[in-house]
Symmetry: C2
DNA sequence: GGTTGACTTCAAGTCGACTCGAACTCCTAG
DNA sequence: CTAGGAGTTCGAGTCGACTTGAAGTCAACC
């Protein structure tokens, strides 16, 4: 599968990536592509398979919370060509750390939520649910009562 | 530590929870408290330790992505008193599942990001970084090239 | 040859969760 | 008795990332 001469319309790319055509134009205008998007004789956008791959990566970066300006910066660096790999690396590394932090935060919240879920489950099966929220918000951070 | 008669001003609660006074008023107006917030003779809000505990839980629910309307629903149920514990349980369980999904999604993204980070690290130490972005967006989902 | 549907550009609207500002009241300290 | 600071209400503004709409072009099918 060479990525060389696959010419894709914006509609095809939309179908392949799940991004709307509107969003793809928006991304182009935001400078998220590493190379200027080419046009055909009629002035329409022509995408390559390579760009689709990049969009898939973009989607993951976005869904994990990387802001568009940072993705743009990364794309800018790639557009400039060799010589700035260290900065690209830094962007990725920083984002990696951020995502790890996000995961840790979510897992902490998950712990609290799960504790509450367990307490409800116990009281519901025991038929003592009416004791909930009697002496606190159904298990505060340090509370073991429910 | 009884939670009975601790009377806290909005400023104190702000300091204890990290939420601004603006946000606390906003939360009250959004119906996020299980009991109507009491006022003193001068019409000012008087919070209890119990409410601070609840706010801490709220903060975790929010930071893990539970929308305010859902938190309000939960608070409404608690306000109504015993008899609706099953629905409260459902809200918590549903959110727990959502957060688990979030964690899974983040970890998938993390995998991709980490792969790219590793590739950059290798090429940077090997001095071959200029080969990046030669035949693809530096490692697509299935690509092992970089 | 007319209509359909995909495409184009540009501008404005949406959404959630705050965040901020204005104008005012009230209690306390000096 | 006045200055300061914390409180009050109400309403408008912000932010990021789309999302939607209007108005028009272009190529192909019936």
């Amino acid at each position: 599968m060479t990525t060389e001469e696959t010419a894709l319309s914006i509609g095809k790319v939309s179908a392949l990536t799940g991004l709307t055509t509107h969003t793809l134009r928006f991304y182009e205008q935001e400078g998220l592509f590493a190379a200027p998007v080419r046009r055909n004789a009629a002035g329409r956008r022509v995408f390559t398979q390579e760009e689709v791959e990049w969009l898939r990566v973009c989607t993951k970066l976005r869904s994990s919370g990387m802001p568009l300006p940072e993705i743009r910066r990364y794309a800018d660096l790639a557009r400039e060509g060799p010589g700035n790999e260290a900065e690209r690396f830094e962007i990725l590394r920083r984002h990696e750390a951020r995502v790890q932090q996000q995961v840790a935060d979510l897992q902490e919240a998950l712990g609290i939520i799960h504790t509450k879920v367990e307490i409800y489950a116990q009281h519901l099966t025991a038929g003592t649910a009416d004791q909930l929220w009697r002496d606190g918000p159904e298990c505060g951070p340090a509370a073991d009562a429910g």
